[in-house]
């Protein structure tokens, strides 16, 4: 724990850490994939797979939110517009075209397309303004859609909403196909988020987040970029909204267009880590099962205590982990690794600057 080994060792441990990360990440990803695919085979109880399906639906929705809001910095509280529109599109199309059974799933691309199309006028209006005003406009558009679902009763079924066509699957394995569909959506959304993040397009989005006027000055066609991201996000959300509708067999205006849905997505993203790809996924995997479980507990009767608890979680997350679990735990791990090494930052910079020879023989030992 003396000064000199700290100085000389630092560059090595840095390189080791960077070398290790891709392998760890790849392995971890494969392990997660295997767990996710095996989940409904291991836990066949429908009550358990139900958690899996809904969690994956929220993984998809939160990732879609993050593709637009996490990258661009425009906080959308109108994602339920897409979610509900996707659900209603499937319900209306299946009813009017008399589709039944598994053929209804062929409507999913249509539902996603409707989401993308709705995003165009929505975005053209809302994306003219920034920050708080943008947030309020998304809320306003959300309320317009909810009200249309209530009032256009001849199309949407009004207050009683729509029922989906009947699926004659046995109850015991009913959830499994939905699990894999939701899983495919989640995997697809994460892949898109990853592609966006790595691309020039993603870079332009993040430039807009950091300083829109400067990005514009540097030649980023801000409106086009923002709108494209909004359309991608809308299409994914509408698609998963349709899956959700077929899974639950029904949608009402207040469930399809639910203000809590919007805020939950934001909470998920912030809990996990805003702007990162894994953050919203982790947040959704924690929050959705937790709220589902809370609502089944008899001591939380009527949802009042569940509501208070959810609010308390919000506060704890924002006040104590403002950057989310993943960045915070990342910092924590770094701190543990560096524990016992006096004056981390000066030591590192000194070591690197001086080009001190690394002495791998001096392992961290008790420091870890």
């Amino acid at each position: 724990m003396s000064e000199s080994p700290t100085v000389s060792k630092s560059p090595t441990s840095h390189r080791a850490a960077t070398d290790l990360t891709p392998a760890l990440k790849g392995g971890g990803l494969l392990a997660l994939l295997a767990i996710a695919i095996a989940f409904p085979q291991v836990f066949t109880n429908p009550a358990v797979t139900n958690y899996g399906v809904l969690a994956l639906i929220f993984v998809t929705a939160a990732t879609a939110w993050n593709i637009f809001s996490g990258n661009s910095g425009y906080i959308s509280l109108g994602q339920a517009v897409f979610y509900g529109s996707g659900a209603y599109t499937m319900g209306i199309a299946a009813r009017d075209w008399h589709l039944e059974g598994t053929t209804v799933f062929a409507l999913l691309p249509l539902c996603a397309a409707v989401g993308a199309v709705i995003a165009v006028p929505f975005g053209l209006i809302a994306l003219r303004v920034r920050r708080h005003t943008f947030i309020v406009i998304t809320i306003a558009v959300f309320f317009i859609f909810q009200l249309m679902a209530f009032n256009l009763a001849s199309i949407t079924g009004g207050t009683s909403g729509l029922d989906s066509p009947f699926l004659s699957w046995p109850a015991a394995s009913y959830n499994t196909p939905f699990y894999y569909i939701a899983f495919a959506f989640a995997a697809g959304a994460i892949a898109i988020a990853w592609l966006v993040r790595r691309s020039r397009f993603g870079l332009q989005l993040r430039a807009i987040r950091d300083d829109e006027d400067r990005a514009r000055g540097l030649g980023v066609k801000a409106m086009r970029v923002k709108l494209s991201a909004f359309m991608i996000s809308g299409a994914i959300t509408a698609g998963i909204g349709a899956v959700w509708f077929y899974y639950l067999n029904q949608v009402q205006p207040q469930t399809g267009f639910d203000p809590i849905f919007d805020l939950t997505l934001v909470l998920m993203a912030f809990l996990g880590g805003y702007g990162s790809i894994s953050g919203p996924v982790l947040g959704a995997l924690i929050i959705e099962p937790l709220t589902l479980w809370l609502n089944t507990q008899p001591q939380f009767s009527g949802g009042a205590l569940a509501e208070i608890l959810l609010g308390a979680i919000f506060l704890i997350v924002v006040l104590f982990m403002p950057r989310g679990i993943i960045p915070t735990s990342g910092e924590f791990i770094t701190k543990i690794r560096m524990r016992g090494r006096a004056a981390i930052i000066p030591a590192t910079t000194m070591g690197t600057a001086a080009g001190a020879p690394s002495t791998p023989s001096v392992t961290s030992g008790g420091a870890r």
Binding site: I125, R131, I135, A140, V141, F270, G303
Partner: protein
């Protein structure tokens, strides 16, 4: 028909005055602290429940009860600011304040639900039961009393903002926080007091709302969506804008209700969209102060 329209306009102006009071609180909080207080709607409902508790349990008149509920709500506002809002800094502050105020709303709503359940309540007193005869139609006294109360309180806020040293520091903070800090204004204190005032008005707003509408724990959502539309239309942070747009919007809604009761609320949002296409800063927006 003219009769009905006239009644709708008068009711719209009277109710609009009450909304103006609630919206002024919201827009002041935005102007000084640069946050949207999503909890404002639920706080109004909390104000209504407080008045309800005082009038049923302690038999205190609704208006007299305000002498207790307004300071109580002011204290609650200062506490919320001290405990949560004050701590939020950094680049994601916009989203975080949204989450925090929403969390506060959820907790208050949950507590109210735990105590009162989902039943609709209404505040009653002699002035909600008796009516006054104006232009050949009847109007409960509470509409007029509530309007006078709201206008009085808005006048007090105006006097506070434009006639006192505290008001000058508030306006300075709204214009430029850094500069205000530099000339020696305690910006944190200004922010705490402004949040307190912004929340305190909900006690009065809630009392009048509760006396003119049936309310339950969910009514806050309906309120906050209207209030947000109003302050955006008025230009966020503009007190005068909030006044004008509340009276204007509520009157328009009230008139539209005669023909299309189901669609009246859409008028709000449609107007919002139209105005923002033409003028993204709202009626009285201050573009130079905050890039919207």
């Amino acid at each position: 028909m003219t009769q009905e329209i006239l009644r709708a306009i008068i009711v719209g102006i009277l109710v609009g005055g009450v909304y103006a009071l609630m919206a002024v609180g919201l827009t002041l909080i935005f102007g000084v602290l640069d946050i949207i207080n999503i909890a404002q709607g639920v706080l109004v409902i909390l104000g209504a429940y407080l008045s309800y508790a005082l009038s049923t349990k302690a038999h205190i008149d609704l208006f007299v009860g305000l002498l207790i509920t307004i300071p109580a709500m002011f204290a609650l506002g200062v506490v919320i600011h001290w405990a949560f809002i004050r701590r939020l800094r950094g680049t994601e502050r916009t989203a975080m304040t949204l989450l925090v105020t929403y969390a506060v709303a959820l907790i208050i709503e949950g507590i109210l639900y735990k105590i009162y359940g989902a039943d609709n309540l209404a505040l009653s007193a002699s002035y909600t039961a008796t009516s006054v005869h104006v232009f050949s139609f009847y109007l409960p006294w509470i509409y007029i009393d509530g309007f006078i109360l709201a206008i009085g309180l808005v006048a007090v806020i105006y006097a506070l903002l434009y006639r006192t040293k505290f008001g000058r520091s508030v306006r300075a903070t709204m214009q430029d926080e850094t500069a205000a800090r530099l000339v020696g204004i305690d910006v944190n204190r200004v922010a705490a007091l402004t949040f307190g005032i912004g929340v305190a008005v909900t006690a009065a707003g809630g009392m009048v709302y509760g006396a003119t509408n049936a309310f339950n724990t969910n009514s806050g959502y309906d309120l906050i969506s209207r209030l947000l539309a109003i302050i955006i239309l008025g230009g966020m942070g503009s007190v005068g804008g909030a006044l004008v747009s509340s009276v204007f919007m509520i009157t328009v809604e009230s008139v539209v209700t005669i023909w299309y009761p189901d669609w009246a609320i859409v008028v709000f949002y449609a107007a919002l969209v139209v105005v923002l296409i033409a003028r993204p800063t709202g009626f009285f927006g201050r573009k130079e102060v905050r890039a919207q």
